[in-house]
Symmetry: C2
Subunit: 427 residues, 2 copies
Amino acid sequence: MVEIRHATLITNNDRDEVIRDATIQVKDGKIAYAGQGKAAPEFAPERVIDAHGNIIMPGFVNMHTHVPMNLFRSYADDLDLMTWLNTRIFPAEDKLTEESAYWASMAAMCELSAAGVIAFNEMYFFVDSIARAAQQSGLRGVLSRAVVTPAPGVGERMLEESKELFEKYNGKGRLKVFLSPHAQYTVNNGMLEQIAEAAKTLGTGVHMHVSETRGEHETCLKEQGMTPIELCQKVGLLDVPFYAAHCVWIGEHDMELMAEYNATVLSCPKSNLKLASGIAPLTEMMQKGVRVTLGTDGAASNNKLSMWEEMTYASFLQKGTTYDPKTMPAAQTLKLATRYGAEALGLNSGVVEAGKNADLVMVNTNGVRYTPDYDEISLAVYAGSDADVCMTMVGGDIIYEDGKFAFADLDEVKMKLAEYAESMKKI
Amino acid sequence: MVEIRHATLITNNDRDEVIRDATIQVKDGKIAYAGQGKAAPEFAPERVIDAHGNIIMPGFVNMHTHVPMNLFRSYADDLDLMTWLNTRIFPAEDKLTEESAYWASMAAMCELSAAGVIAFNEMYFFVDSIARAAQQSGLRGVLSRAVVTPAPGVGERMLEESKELFEKYNGKGRLKVFLSPHAQYTVNNGMLEQIAEAAKTLGTGVHMHVSETRGEHETCLKEQGMTPIELCQKVGLLDVPFYAAHCVWIGEHDMELMAEYNATVLSCPKSNLKLASGIAPLTEMMQKGVRVTLGTDGAASNNKLSMWEEMTYASFLQKGTTYDPKTMPAAQTLKLATRYGAEALGLNSGVVEAGKNADLVMVNTNGVRYTPDYDEISLAVYAGSDADVCMTMVGGDIIYEDGKFAFADLDEVKMKLAEYAESMKKI
C-alpha cells in the first residue's frame, strides 16, 4: 500500500495522456488508482511518497539481453565480429562459472533496475545463475537457454535442459521461460523444427537472433533458398509466440510474414551500430503492421544497458535514414520501449492505469534539462537519462530508490565482479 | 594550487596513455604535473582532492552551440524542418529578449559544465547576453553573431555589430569572437566576401552552417554551379580559420578542399538525425585528412547538450554505416570530442600534461558500469555519461562539483527559465 502524490504522470495510454498533480495508489502489487490527485479515493497507505512534480511513467521492458555479459563490458571493443568472437568473447565465455555468471547477472540487475527497467527478455546459458539473480532482484524476467548444434547430440541435450528449465522456473514468481534456438546459422533445420514442436507442447514462446548481419541473411537465402524468417515459418517457429532479435536485414516479405503471424521484433539499435551490422528499417516494419520493441543486447556490444539511449537511437536513426523528422515521435518511441514489450511478453503493465501491475519508475526532474516543460513526453524521451531515475517499482515493490538497491549491495557486486575479471585478463 | 591524488588519468596524449594512481598538480590555471603519484614533485596545494580511483580526463570542447535555445527544449519536436522553423522556432525567437536569452544561456552554462564541457563554440544573436553568461560561468567560449541577408542593409548592420562584438569581447577573459555568416542559403555572395575580408582584417575565424541538408547542398550546386564549400573557397572564406558546422552532404572535392585549407568540420550527429538531415561521412573525411570535431547543436534540435552522447553517436554511426566496427575506436572518438576541438580553436588544452591549461573533468567511477575495468578509455567513452561527471575545472577553477555550480544557483536559473517559457506557451 503505497500512495504517490503530486506526480506528473505520463500514463502511456492510447491518448498519450499526461496528468499533472497526479496521485497513484498501489495495492497488492497493482495500481488501484492513477489520476487527478484531487479526485483520488480514500486510501490508507503504509507509505506516502511526495513526488514533488517528478515524472511517474511505466518502467522499461528490455526485450533482448545477455545479462552475464556484464562481466565483459570494455573487454573487447572496436574489433571485427569474428576477431571479437573468436579471440575474445568465446575464450572469455569458456571461463565463466555458475558463480561468476551469477555475480555478473547481479551487476546487470543493478544496472537495469537503476535505469528504470522492470522486465527483461534474456537469452544465454548459465540460466540457473541468471534465475537466481533475477529472483533476488524482483525484476520480471523471461529466461531462455540458447541452443546451438555444433555437433551431433549437443542441440538435443540443450533442448532437454531448456525443457527442465521451463519446468523449474516458468510461472515461478516473476519468471517465465522461453525456448531459444540461438540463430539460423548456428542451429540446423531439424533442431529448429524440434524447438518449434517443443514450444507448442509447452505453450511457450521462442526467442531467436534473426537476420542480424547481412552475411547471415544472404548466406541463408543462398544455401536454403529462403530468408531466415521464411525458414522460421516453414519449420513452424512462427506458429508460436516468436521474438526475433535484431532483424536488421529482413525484407518486405519477411515483414509481411511477421505481421501475419503476430511475431515481435526486438530491435537493438545501438548494438547493431557498434557491431557494424547496420540500421533496422523500423519505420517500414511498423507501416507493415509488425510489432516493434526495443532491447539493449549485452554489455559487451553496446556498452550500456540503457533503454533511454535505445529510445533516442531508435527514433533518431529512423528520422535520419528516412529523412522524415515526423517518424517515430516521442510518445510512440516511449511505447516501443515500454508498453509494446509488455504486451508482447504478456505482462500486465506498460500503461499506468487502475488494474495494471504497479511496474513504475519515478524520474527526478530537478536537473537543468527538465525546464522549461512545454512537453513532458518529449522531455522524458529526448532529454531524460538513466541517471534521472530515482525509483523503480515492480509489482508494487520498490527495488531501487535514490541510489540504493533493495536486493543488493552494489559495492559487494562490484568487488566480486572485479575478482572474476582478473581471470579474464589472463586470457 | 590544487593537487588531485589517486586518479585514473586518461592523458589523451599521442600514445593514449592511461596512468593509474596518478597525481595532477594545478598551478596558475595550468597543469604543473600529471603522472605517477609516486613520482610527483613536492607541491604545497591549497586544496587536495582524493580522486579515489575516479577518472581524470580532458574536458569536452562543444564545437557547435546555440545556447539561448535552451529556452526552446521540448518546445517543438517531430516536425518537418519548415513547419518547425516557421510555425514554432522563428515566432519563439521573435519573443526572445536580452534577459530571457541571458537566463537561457545560464541554463546552458549549467548543462554544459555539469556534463564536463570546458569550452563551447557558439553562433546566435543576443551575443551580449551570451557573453555575460559565459563570463559568469568561467567556461571558455568562442562567440559569434549570425549574419543573414534577408533584405538590403541587414547583413551590413549585422556585420558591423559583429565587429563591435569582436572589439568588445575577443581576448577578454576566456572569450574569443569569430564572424559568422549563418549559411550559404541565408547569406548572399557579396556578404560572404565581405565577411571573409573582415575576418582577415581582424585576424579571426569564421563559423558557418555548411551543407546540413541535401536540399541546401543541391540547390547551391544548381544555382551557383558549385557546392557551398567550393563557394566558400571562391569568396575567400577558406583563407581564414574556417569552422563548418554539420557538413552532412559534402562531397569528395569539398573534403579535399577542407583538408588543403585546414578547415574544421563541426559534426553534430544527433541533431543531424533528429532533424532528418542525414549522417555525415566522418570516416571518409578523416581518411582525406580533414579535421573532424563534435558539437551538440542547440537544445531544441538534440535535445541534450551532451558530448558523451555525441561521442557514441559519432563512433557508432560510422561503424554502422561503413560496416566496419574498427572505425572510430574509443580513443580516437575521445579526441574528436576534446583535443581536436581544442586544437582547432587554439586552446592550450585537450591533453592532460604539464604546461597545458587545467581544463579537466573528474568522472565518478562508483557506478555499476565502471566495473570490470579492462579498458578505461572504452569505459569512459562507451559506458560513461554526463551524470558521472563529479567535477569540471577550467583554467584551474572548479566551476562545477558534486551537483553544485560555482557560478549559479540552479533553482534560480530554472525558475527564471520557467517564467520566460510562459510567454512562449502563448504563441
